[in-house]
């Protein structure tokens, strides 16, 4: 059996954990760090409920071994809200009814966050393409797309305010 000491940053905080090589990253996030907002929706790398942002890219944390995250910087749904309150994406899902059961929502938000960081003005098609690795069995996606459009607009307004005149 091979056990490893893994150091990484999660939502800005440094963590050191021990895990067997066969333990998946999602299991360390949920069970050792108790960050249960990252969900497990399937066994087949299909659903995207476990989406996190690893070194700036949205990935499925069920399809990576925890030991591979040594030295990485990770962002989960728990790190999305700021001290001032909800992130515009979270607000968008609230305002536009972007969820029903909510199980896919953390993954959707992480995928959308990575998308908007790369492309602050996505078209509807680009949003749908960007979240095509995340399954939702309730909404039919229409409200999720609206929620992301809401967030994109709000983020653009915020960055416009921050730029000195």
């Amino acid at each position: 059996m091979s056990k490893h000491t893994i150091q990484f940053t999660v939502n800005g905080a440094s963590h050191t954990v021990e895990a067997e090589s066969r333990i998946l990253l999602v299991h360390v996030i949920r069970e050792q760090l108790a960050l249960t907002g990252t969900h497990i929706g399937c066994d087949t790398s299909s659903c995207g409920a476990c989406t996190i942002i690893l070194n700036g890219r949205a990935i499925k944390s069920c399809t990576m071994f925890a030991v591979q995250a040594h030295g990485a910087s990770i962002e989960t749904i728990e790190g999305v809200a700021g001290p001032a309150g909800l992130h515009p994406l979270q607000e968008g899902f609230w305002e536009k009814h972007g969820l029903q059961c909510g199980f896919c929502t953390p993954g959707m938000i992480m995928a959308a966050k990575a998308l908007l960081e790369r492309n602050p003005e996505p078209t509807e098609h680009e949003i749908r393409y960007g979240i095509s690795g995340n399954l939702c069995r309730c909404t039919g996606y229409v409200k999720i797309v609206e929620a992301i459009q809401y967030a994109a607009e709000k983020l653009r307004e915020q960055s416009a305010v921050e730029v000195p005149a």
Binding site: M1, S2, H4, E20, S21, R22, I23, L24, H27, D43, T44, S45, S46, G48, T51, R57, A58, I59, K60, T63, M64, F65, V67, Q68, H70, A111, Y129, G130, I131, S132, G133, N134
Partner: protein, 287 residues
């Protein structure tokens, strides 16, 4: 599900990786993007005793163009192909495929080298690289060697790579003037494997097709070229009649199996149609 127990190594250099592969032989598997291997290990379809994680190797993640070829480092992520500045314009067959491999989250991890080395006939890059006539570069204890893509796939999930060899680079010949390519895939939903898909790379001289390579995804036990369909079209105009003949030749040559994605007859007929569409699209791009 949790995979079986294995020993994990993360070499920092190519030589270290090769030394580990030499030491562990058939017990070892190379872990690149892991987007096929990890799901297989979770289902215990694969239970390697040793994993050699090559993600820490520097200098294997690059896309470079020389005067004669495009070089893609084995660890290049699929998303890098999609986001690349000139690939969509100059290598449209490659760009078409990059958009339809798995889903965007998987493409952020999955690698071009892994897609080829895994040699799953359902994977998309094997047909793409067969159509391009690419060259695979590998590194092992006896040094580096080049393997023509036509000799690379030796069966289902098997390649010409030795257990102690590592795929390092893929070289795609730079398309000449009046060349074009296309990849058309029919999938049930995003992230699924192809029901059938067709890769075409061709060169035109006016109305006449002077060179063409056609390869098929997921309609045979191993990645395959549809050479009979190529022969139908070489030196000919791409008339409806010739395209139909090429489509029928590919449909007859392929060897699909019936599964949830469709019957054998359906997959053959879909392949016939996709050959026609992909050749037409490639020819439009060659103009």
């Amino acid at each position: 599900m949790i995979p079986s127990v294995f020993d994990f190594y993360a070499p920092r250099t190519l030589d270290e990786a090769v030394a580990l592969l030499t030491e562990h032989g058939d017990d070892a598997k190379i872990l690149a993007g892991g987007q096929s291997l990890i799901p297989a290990m979770r289902f215990r379809l694969a239970a390697p005793a040793v994993l050699v994680d090559i993600n820490g190797l520097t200098g294997l993640d690059y896309i470079r163009e020389t005067e004669s070829y495009l070089a893609i480092g084995a660890l290049t992520r699929e998303s890098s192909l999609e986001e690349h500045a000139f690939i969509p314009a100059r290598y449209p067959l490659l760009a078409d495929a990059a958009h339809v491999i798995a889903d965007p989250l998987v493409r952020n991890r999955a690698t071009v080298g892994g897609n080829l080395a895994h040699a799953d006939p359902a994977n998309d890059h094997p047909a793409v690289m067969l159509a391009y006539g690419a060259e695979i570069h590998a590194h092992g204890p006896r040094g580096a060697r080049a393997i023509p893509i036509d000799d690379f796939f030796t069966g289902m999930f098997s390649t010409a790579l030795q257990p102690d060899e590592l795929l390092t680079e893929i070289r795609i010949p730079r398309p000449g003037p009046f060349s074009g390519g296309a990849y058309i895939k029919v999938e049930r939903k995003v992230g699924d494997y192809a029901v059938s898909a067709v890769a075409v790379q061709l060169t035109m001289n006016g109305e006449v097709c002077t060179a063409i390579r056609i390869a098929l995804t997921n309609v045979s036990p191993a990645p395959m070229r549809a050479e009979i369909a190529e022969h139908v079209l070489i030196g000919q105009p791409l008339s409806d009649l010739n395209l139909e003949a090429a489509g029928q030749a590919a449909a007859a040559a392929c060897d699909p199996s019936a599964d949830l994605r469709g019957s054998i007859d359906y997959k053959r007929d879909l392949t016939r149609i996709l050959v026609k569409r992909a050749v037409r699209k490639a020819a439009e791009r060659a103009a």
